[in-house]
Each structure stands twice: as C-alpha cells, then as structure tokens.
Symmetry: D2
Subunit: 117 residues, 4 copies
C-alpha cells in the first residue's frame, strides 16, 4: 500500500539520522574540537527537508576514556560519542527521534509520532 503521512514522516526522520551518522563518522575529534563538530552536525542536518530541530551532545566522558586508552590524543567520531535528538515535521505529523547507547550499540529510535486527528 501507499505510505501514510506518519509513515513518510518516520522515513524522513530516518534519512536525517543516517545522514548525520555517516557524514560525520570518522571525523577526527578531541575534547577541544567536540563543540564545533556538534554544532556543525546539527546545523548541517537542519538544512534537510522537513527537519525542524537537531541537537547533538558529545559524550565527553566516553571520548576522554577512549583517548586515555590509546596512543594518539584524538580519535574518530562514531555513534558511541554522541547523543542526538531530532524533530521532523512532515505534513503536520511531528516525529521525535533520538540516538542513545543501548549497551554497546548506538540505537536510533522513534520516540513519539504526533499526527493531527
């Protein structure tokens, strides 16, 4: 069947999450550069259609722990180092999504779908 508006809204939210993750995975990151990367990630993805709001918080404790365990003083950005929240609005349907650690895996999830009556 053709998708409903809430289903398309969820698809659009997924596109933004995949984009954010795979555009920036591998970026050299240290505690000093964490804030500028978080800001760029959020503003870049907010350019995409139907994307209302993105917040990216770097998990600096996880970042520092990783760097302490290795020889270099920076590492590469990956999902373990961020918590992300995102709001997509498509045809009046608001979708709230997030990425948070689920054990050792950065899980992207749909938290809420709010469709007009």
């Amino acid at each position: 069947m053709d998708p409903t508006d809430p289903q398309v809204a969820c698809f659009e939210a997924g596109v933004k999450f995949g984009s954010l993750y795979h555009q920036f995975a591998g970026t050299p990151i240290s505690p000093d550069s964490a804030d500028s990367l978080a800001a760029a990630m959020a503003e870049a993805i907010e350019n995409q259609p139907h994307c209302e709001d993105v917040t990216v918080e770097i998990r600096e404790d996880a970042l520092r722990a990783e760097i302490e365990d290795q020889s270099a003083d920076y590492t590469e950005f990956t999902g373990r180092f961020a918590e992300v929240e995102m709001t997509v609005d498509y045809e009046g349907v608001a979708v709230e999504t997030s990425m948070r650690m689920d054990g050792d895996y950065p899980l992207m999830a749909v938290d809420d779908v709010d469709a007009p009556e």
Copy 2:
C-alpha cells in the same frame, strides 16, 4: 504516541538511505570504477539491521555527461549518478523504497508498505 511497527519499518528504511547517500557522497567515480562502487554501496548497507536487499545502479549517461563538461576525467559521487532500490523488513512489515531523480533533485521515497493483517 509510540510508533507502530510500520512506522518503525519506514524509519529504518530512511536510516539506510541516509547512510548510503552520505557515506559515499564525494567518492571519486568514473565510468571504469562505477561498478565496484555500486557493488560496495549495496553490500555495505545490506549489513545494517532489517535491511533485506539493496540494488544500486549507476546512471552512466549522467556520469559521462558530467565528465565531458569539465577538465578532470573523473567526478565525485552524488545522488544524481545513482538509482537505488531497497527493501527493509521490520517485524514482518516490508517497506519498498527508492531514490530517483525528481527534476534536479535525487528524491528518496517510500514506494510501498506491506504490513501483515
């Protein structure tokens, strides 16, 4: 409200599309290297959870036209140079999605959602 299974299935499909696009955007590509890139894109994304099948076809005419108009003999991969079809299966819900040109924009779309009764 909490998302339904078909909504989560659509979210998962979106994640794969955003991943595919932004992981490989910018890759140096020429007609000679088009097939290996298409194969790698499909196999890479098929690793992701709930992803049943990915096909990537490089639009070689568009690629050749771009290269003829410029000084270098290769260019960078972007959405204009590919048609993609993808099937995601989440909790028995099959979602068919595709990326095709819509005028000058590579549009990602949900083509079909097939949920069990």
Copy 3:
C-alpha cells in the same frame, strides 16, 4: 630511497588535505550553516598529527549561485565552495599548502616548504 624530512612533511600535509576534503564532501550546506561547517572542518583537521593551523573560508558567492540555480535551498559541500590554507610542521620543516579554484577544479597545492639549514 628513504624520504627526507621535507618530503615526509609534504606527505603529511597531503594527508590532511585529503582528509578534510573527503570527510566533509557531501555535507548539507547553506549560507546559514556555512560558518559552523568551516569551523568544524578546521578544528577537526587540526587534531591530526603535525597539523599546526587550518583556515577554511566558505566561498559564499559560489554557494549562493549554486543554490539559486536549483530547486532545493541547500546543496552539498564540495571543493568548489571553500578556500583552505594549512600549515604542517614536521621535524622543523614548515609546509604551507592551500586549496583554491583552478578553472573548474579545486586544486590542492604546496605553496612553500621551509626547511632548517
């Protein structure tokens, strides 16, 4: 033959340029998000070994011209939209490099190699 220190310094400078370009190529960008992306690019690459200084200036005229010619109100970052200068220091050898448009191609070049006597 084994490389000299100035040769290794130039190799290191090249690594930074390739990293910067291919990490961020494809990032959604608009005039509003240009500054945050430029800052993140510079700070990310400055994390890499032997990298003293990176400046990234977005060519906003080129960016606006691209966006005016198309249907979407953002585009994808590529080398046409930036001028970059970078200083690498390896074993006392200072290498100055830049990326600037050479006709239609964003040319990365070594501008100066300053080795101790």
Copy 4:
C-alpha cells in the same frame, strides 16, 4: 621555497591516503562485504590524478575479532581493518606509500621515493 618535484609527489601521495581513509571510514563492514569494499576503495582512489596503483587488503582477523566482542554482526570500517599500498607518479618521481598498524595506530608512511637522476 617552492616545492621540488619529489616533495609535490609526496604531497600528492598524502592526498590519496587521506582521501581513502576519510571517504570510507564509517562504512558498515562484515567479513561478507569486505572484498567489495576493498575493491571499491582501490578503484575510487585510482581515479585521482597521478595515482598509479592502489591495493587494499582487509585485515579479516581484526575484523572478526572486533565483531565477536560486540552485539552487532557488523562494524564500521576504520584504519585498523586495512593494509593499504599505493604508488603515485608525479613528473617521473615514483613514491611508494603504505598504511600499516603501528601498535594501536594505523600509520601512513612514505616507504620509498624514486626520483630520476
């Protein structure tokens, strides 16, 4: 001072290494998809100017060990999972470079510079 041809050749080699690494870092990879990714990486970078030959070998033991230690059955490509050799030729100067593990860090190195007399 202006760079010599061997110095520019080393710069060009560095650009290719940075490109290869940061274009593909973050790509979903499993033992099943390793070969197609390795082929695409090599062919993509061989498109770049002055790049004669690229070989990418996935370190499947390292890849399998990483996957056994975690919940998902794939991981993200990073330098730990590959050995790379590359030959650049610029104005008759042949530069041999490689990326190999140096302890816990994937070290990119210039192995040989062969300039005409």
